[in-house]
Amino acid sequence: MRKTALTDEILLSIDKPARYIGNEVNSVIKDLTQVNIRFAMCFPDVYEIGMSHLGIQILYDMFNQMEDVYCERVYSPWTDLDKIMRERNIPLFALESQDPIKAFDFLGITIQYEMCYTNILQVLELSQIPLLASERGEEFPIVIGGGPCTYNPEPLADFFDLFYIGEGETSYFPLLEAYRENKKNGGNKLDFLKKAAQIPGIYVPSFYDVKYKEDGTVKEFTPNVAEAPKTIRKEIVMDVSETFYPKKPVVPFIKATQDRVVLEIQRGCIRGCRFCQAGMIYRPVRERSLDMLKEYAYEMLHNTGYEEISLSSLSSSDYSQLQGLVNFLIEEFKEQGVNISLPSLRIDEFSLDVMSKVQDVRKSSLTFAPEAGTQRLRDVINKGLTEEVIIEGAGKAFESGWNRVKLYFMLGLPTETLEDMVGIAELSDKIARRYYEIPKDQRNGKVQIVASTSFFVPKPFTPFQWATMSTKEEFIEKARIVKQAIKSQLNQKSIKYNWHEADLTVLEGVLARGDRRVSKVILQAYRNGCIYDAWSETFDYSKWLAAFENTGVDINFYTTRERALDEIFPWDFIDTGVTKEFLKREWENAKNGLITLNCKMACSGCGAMIFNGGVCFEDKN
């Protein structure tokens, strides 16, 4: 009989007990007597979110293929259970064995977005592991951070023993081997960390010292042990067809956010949008082979029983075998009642044809992400989507029966003017006008346009890493201007406008480009009671503001301050392949409104060619 860490009474008194009992289809059970290394893999958010994450499924499968390693999962307990665990001193446990995390060798935490930082502290504290790495003795697990936010790990430096920078399929093998060796030789944690620091992609924050200038910027960042390299290059898998990918992903009992088979078709993006961190840090583009994807689609559907399969990547329309793959999926699986869900594709004849085959046109909507309201600003951000293309695509779709359009924009982009904000309203209106050009008897009722704006956050390793960010008040004013402008359009009744929370954006700005001094703000915010900051029902801005006040850290230093071109950034020690010179060049191009061609058209010399593969070595047109 399976044990549960929580009693029946607790499980019956909390929401969705299935979050905490494990035993899901394809979860891995191992004989603990045959296992040498126990690895707890954590997504610091609620189960339904964490279970939807592909990266953990890949690593879970990969780790458990190693005979002497047992990888188990753990997620943030929801606030109801969180309270009970604190009251009764129940240690956080892994789903598979239901054993306490504190007895594991490793706790690996994937860090996908800034607003989960306080949940990282929640996971550590509920696990009864000291929050600060410097206060953790030999008996505690090694705490590893991974995922996109570790491209600037500095705000979290105090809490982690090491960070794994880049894709997980490579350096975990030497890392675990170093751990085995160290254990065999009777080495301690420090011995292990010194070995780890020499493994590609591994960053041990305690092995580096940071000195600051009087103006608060970084003066120098230097290793304090001989084993620690000066720079750390991200890890990357070059052959993405011959690598780890789960044939038997874990299937949750309760409905997860991503409740389907996910097929990742490529990594990276050729587009080079200047605001987009993913588009820079995952370079170069590497495609999976059609044969591999066909095989995995079949195996994964069969092994999970899912009724839906979804393709996943950045800018999926750029995948060279897309037509072949989509046609295969439709022919092979549509008859068996399998839904095929497509990521947002560029709207053209092919995508409209495919969409009409796999979805109910009346129920689905078209998605465009122009990101900016005018061509001038779209050139600044290098978003190669023109008004003509949008209107033409929308027109074709309207003629085929669609009548719903979603538009995504950003407010607060560098060089933005009033005209750009008003442009959001005007573009929305033009799309509506295009709809009403269709004769009344041939169109499908009214058109519904939803325009959404998010606020721009400058991210490390993008050409906009030098940019200033707007204040909360400025953001709110910008949204007001757009709202006003939409109201004065001819088709205002067909346009719905949504905008994001401004205070959340400000925090994201601090955490995204923060340095080690931001660690104490995060800790203080957590002490003030912040948790689940990504959830509007639990997010409390005033507690964060109090934390900044308590710690004397200035928000504007990290957000609105204009950075000089020669400033040393806290994340400069990471080498993503893409050079700082390229990013500077792109920052200049942005300010001059000059576009840069995508990787398939011409090489812009970003530096990613150093990885010897992918799109960099394909013919250009």
């Binding site: 009474e9 299935a18 009992i21 035993n23 299937v251 069969h302 029983g305």
Partner: protein, 239 residues
Amino acid sequence: MEVYALKIRIKFKKEDSMKFIGHLDIMRYFQKAMRRADIDIAYSEGYSPHQIMSFASPLGVGITSDGEYIDIEIKNRISSKEAMHKLNEVMVEGIEILSFRQLPKDSKNAMSIVEAADYEIKFREGYEPKLWEERLKDFFTQEEITVTKKTKKSEKEVDIKPMIYSLNVSNGKVSMQIASGSANNLKPELVMQAFCEFIDFEPREFALLIHRKELYVNIGDESKKEFLALENLGEELYE
């Protein structure tokens, strides 16, 4: 030529931690399990076809069972043995297929014919009243057993005695056969609540461990009920 689908009744058990998986999630679980096991299940017509599958009676969260039923239709004949093997290969620990039987063509689905259920109930250790077992007989021999049923609008007194077909206790375990289904439905918790009131005992929350043993159809009539386990309306499919 018209193709007939075969009506199938599946019996399964649900135990251990699987009692925390709610009814809707168990339905989704079985839809996926059919695909994993390559059961040739029939689908409904229409734009978004779904598996033809219905459950006899939802089981509450926290309750275990030896007698859960699903009715499905399959397009091609398969032996009971093979189907059970295929399904049990893809089950999680705590859910086990107990039978897979063919129903006559004109059978009604299980949900519409359930009339009774067997339950076994224990007090959780440390939560039990003192010397309660001997009082159960007195409780059941009452002329009437009235409970207050609360609805959203009102409270009313109901006599549940006619819905309790048998009630026994041995070794700290209460066994009861009670009305279940769409016409008359009695929850076992309500019987135990009435008993606790009868002996003047206030149970703590989650004091009861409830286990469903079996679901029945009535093959007698109203005055003389004759209960048959739902699976016994079906026949084994041989190789």
